[in-house]
Symmetry: C2
Subunit: 381 residues, 2 copies
C-alpha cells in the first residue's frame, strides 16, 4: 500500500501546508529588520491565544523548559508551593519544583480525573501563605481538562500574594484561554500541540503581579531569565538567537487562527471531542475521563481484553496511523487520540473508521460503522 503517515497523537501534531510553506521562507538574521517586523507581527496573535493583555515571551526550547522557566524566575529556594497533580505532566511540574528546592505540597488526584476546585479551596483556607499554585490546564497524559477558571477564582479569594502558574501545553490554541479573567500569572504552552507548529518553541505569558516577583528574584539564571526577554521584547527582539524558521511558522499559524476566528477554533475542538467520545461510547469502549472532565484536544480510551500496544501497532502497520499509549500504570490499558491543531471533523471520522477496523481485527464484536455513525450524529446535529 502507498505509505501514509496519519499523526493523531497528542503532539507533535501535523503541520498545515501553509505553515510548512511559510517555514520555507529563506532564513534571515535574528538582528535584522525582517526579524523585528516578524516579532512585532506575532505579538497580538499570541496575546489573543492566551486571552491576555500581558506580553508573551517566546523561548527557543521545549514546553518543559517553559515550565522550568516559571519556577526559576518566580520562586526562591524554600518557597512553600502547592502543585495540583492530575497526571504525568502535573507530576513533572512537581519534580521541577523539587529540583529547585521548593517546599512542595501536592494535591494528587486519581489519573483520569480533574482536580476538584473545592479541594483546592479547602487546602488554601488552611494554608493561605502558599507562594504559588501550579496547575495543568489540559493534562495531556490522561486527556483531562482542569478548571483553571474556578481554581483561579479560588486563589484570588484567598490571597492576593499567591501566584497562579499554569501549564497550558496541549490546551492553549485549542481550548479557550482567558488568562486575565481567570487570574493566571504565568501561563505556558509549547509550539507542537494546538499551536500547530513543529516542536522547538515555548511561550510564556506573564502577568504584572508575576513581573514584580520576577524582577526582585535573584535566583541564578541566564538563558531562561525573563528579565532579559522583557527588555528585548520592548525592542521587538529576543535576547538570544531564536528558532527563526519556527517563528515564521508561528506568524502563519496565528494568521490562520484569526482567519478561522478563535471562537470557531475552540468550537471545532469541542466538536471533535464530542464526536470522538460519542464514537468510542457507541463502540462499547470505555472512556478514561468523564464528560465533565474531558479535554477538547485529547481523548483517552480504556481497552479491555486487548492491549494498547497491540491495537496501536496494528493501526500503525496497516494505515500509518499513530496513536499514543497511556502514561505510567495506564500504559497498556489506555490509547490516547490527539484531535487538535491541524485537525478537522473529517480527520476524526477517519480515525474512528480505522479504530473500528483495528478493534474488529483484534476480535472485538463491533458492528461496522457504528462509531462513525455516532460521530456523524454529533456532526449533523
Amino acid at each position: 500500500m502507498v505509505e501514509t503517515n496519519i499523526l493523531r497523537i497528542p503532539g507533535p501534531t501535523p503541520i498545515h501546508p501553509r505553515i510548512e510553506r511559510a517555514m520555507n521562507t529563506p532564513i534571515f538574521g535574528h538582528r535584522s529588520q525582517e526579524m523585528k517586523d516578524l516579532m512585532q507581527s506575532v505579538k497580538h496573535g499570541l496575546k489573543l491565544s492566551f486571552g491576555t493583555e500581558n506580553e508573551v515571551i517566546i523561548l527557543t526550547s521545549s514546553g518543559t523548559s517553559g515550565l522550568e522557566a516559571t519556577v526559576v524566575n518566580a520562586t526562591s529556594p524554600g518557597d512553600y508551593v502547592l502543585v495540583l497533580v492530575t497526571g504525568a505532566f502535573g507530576n513533572r511540574f512537581a519534580q521541577i519544583c523539587e529540583a529547585y528546592e521548593l517546599n512542595v505540597h501536592r494535591i494528587d488526584v486519581e489519573w483520569g480525573q480533574a482536580v476538584d476546585p473545592e479541594q483546592v479551596k479547602d487546602y488554601l483556607s488552611e494554608h493561605p501563605h502558599v507562594k504559588a499554585v501550579f496547575a495543568t490546564y489540559c493534562e495531556t497524559s490522561t486527556g483531562v481538562l482542569n478548571r483553571i477558571d474556578k481554581i483561579g477564582e479560588i486563589i484570588q479569594d484567598v490571597s492576593n500574594e499567591t501566584l497562579f502558574i499554569v501549564d497550558g501545553v496541549s490546551a492553549v490554541g485549542g481550548a479557550k484561554a482567558e488568562m486575565d479573567a481567570w487570574g493566571v500569572d504565568l501561563f505556558v504552552t509549547g509550539s507542537q500541540k494546538a499551536m500547530m507548529l513543529p516542536p522547538g518553541l515555548s511561550f510564556v505569558a506573564v502577568s504584572e503581579r508575576a513581573w514584580e516577583v520576577i524582577e526582585a528574584n535573584n535566583r541564578p539564571r541566564f538563558y531562561l531569565d525573563f528579565r532579559k526577554y522583557r527588555q528585548s521584547l520592548a525592542d521587538d527582539a529576543t535576547p538570544f538567537t531564536p528558532a527563526v524558521s519556527l517563528i515564521i511558522g508561528l506568524q502563519e499559524a496565528l494568521m490562520m487562527f484569526q482567519e478561522e476566528g478563535y471562537e470557531e477554533v475552540y468550537n471545532r475542538h469541542l466538536r471533535m471531542k464530542e464526536m470522538t467520545r460519542a464514537a468510542i461510547r457507541a463502540l462499547g469502549v470505555s472512556l478514561l475521563a468523564s464528560d465533565e472532565d474531558a479535554s477538547p484536544t485529547v481523548t483517552s480510551l480504556v481497552l479491555d481484553g486487548v492491549t494498547s500496544e497491540e491495537l496501536r501497532s496494528l493501526l500503525k502497520k496497516q494505515f500509518g496511523l499513530s496513536l499514543a499509549g497511556g502514561p505510567g500504570q495506564l500504559k497498556e490499558k489506555v490509547v490516547r487520540i490527539g484531535h487538535m491543531g491541524y485537525c478537522s471533523p473529517a480527520d476524526v471520522l477517519q480515525v474512528i473508521s480505522l479504530l473500528e477496523i483495528g478493534l474488529i481485527q483484534l476480535g472485538k464484536d463491533i458492528d461496522r460503522g457504528t462509531g462513525v455513525a455516532a460521530a456523524q450524529d454529533i456532526y449533523l446535529k
Copy 2:
C-alpha cells in the same frame, strides 16, 4: 529589481535546498520508531563533527543555552574558574559563570586578537587548582580563532582535574575540531552556523572526565540536566520533546558533510577565508585579525571614513546582501562577513564584488575588480 536575500552574516546561515526539503518531511512523534532511527543515525556524524568518540547531547535551545548547560552541569557555586575572553561571546561565557555564582577570573585580550596560550600557561602555573577553564574557539564577534589545541595541551600539563570547556559555536562544522586529541571536556555548538541548520538546536559533546563531575554534581537543574539526556541517548531518545524537524535537517546536513568529506569541508572554509582576506587587503581596507589569528568562518574588516551602518544598509538596500556590524565599541568601525556552512568560493566572489560597489558608491577610491581579482588569485593558486 527582483527581490533577493543574500545572507552573509556569521549566523544564521542560509539553508541548503536539500536540508530545506528534508525538514519538510511530514513530522512524526518524538516517541516513535522513526525518531529512534533518526537519533541513531545522527550519532556518528555528530561525533565526527566534534572529533570525538564521546556521546553528543542534542538540546532544543539556542547556543547560549548550551553554554549555560555546561556551567549548570559541571560547576558548583564558589568554584574557581578561568574564562578566556576575546570578545562578546567570551564575555557572555563569563557572565553566565557569574550568574551561577562562580569565582570568576578572566584573561581579557584586546578584541580582534586571539588569546596567547603562554599567558594561560603562566596563569595556570600560579593557580593550578582552577576547576575549569572556559574558552571560545571561534570568537564570532571578532572573527578570531583561538588555539584550542595548544590551550588544551597546557591545561593537561598543569592539572588532570581542571575541566576544559569550549564554546565551539560558529567553528564546529567549519573549522577542524579534535575534541579528544585536544583534551576538551565539554564542547558546545549551535545549529545555525557552520552546521548549516536554522537556529533552534545546540549540541554538547561530553568527555568521560566531565561525566564524573556531572554525575556527582547536585546543582538544581531539570531541562538542561545532562544526566537525563545521557540516559535517554542510550535508548536513542531525548528526555523532552525535541525540535524534530530540525533533527531531520541535521541528518541531511551530516550526510552532506560526509559526502563532501570533513577534510574538504575544512579546506573549503580555509580557502574562503583566504580569498576574503586577500580581497579586502587588495581593496586597501584593514582586517581586524592577524593572519595567524583569523577564523576560517568569519572575517572582520575595519572601515575608515565610512561607517559600518552606511555600508551595510547600502548593500542591503541595493542587493539584499546582509552583512553584520561589529561588537560593542567596534560597532561602527567593523563589518563582519560570514563565510561558513552553505557557502562556496563562488559566494565569496559575489560578496567581494558587491562590497567593491558599496565602497565605490561611498566615495572610496578603488579600482573596480581589484578585490575580486585577488580572491580569484587565491582560488586559482
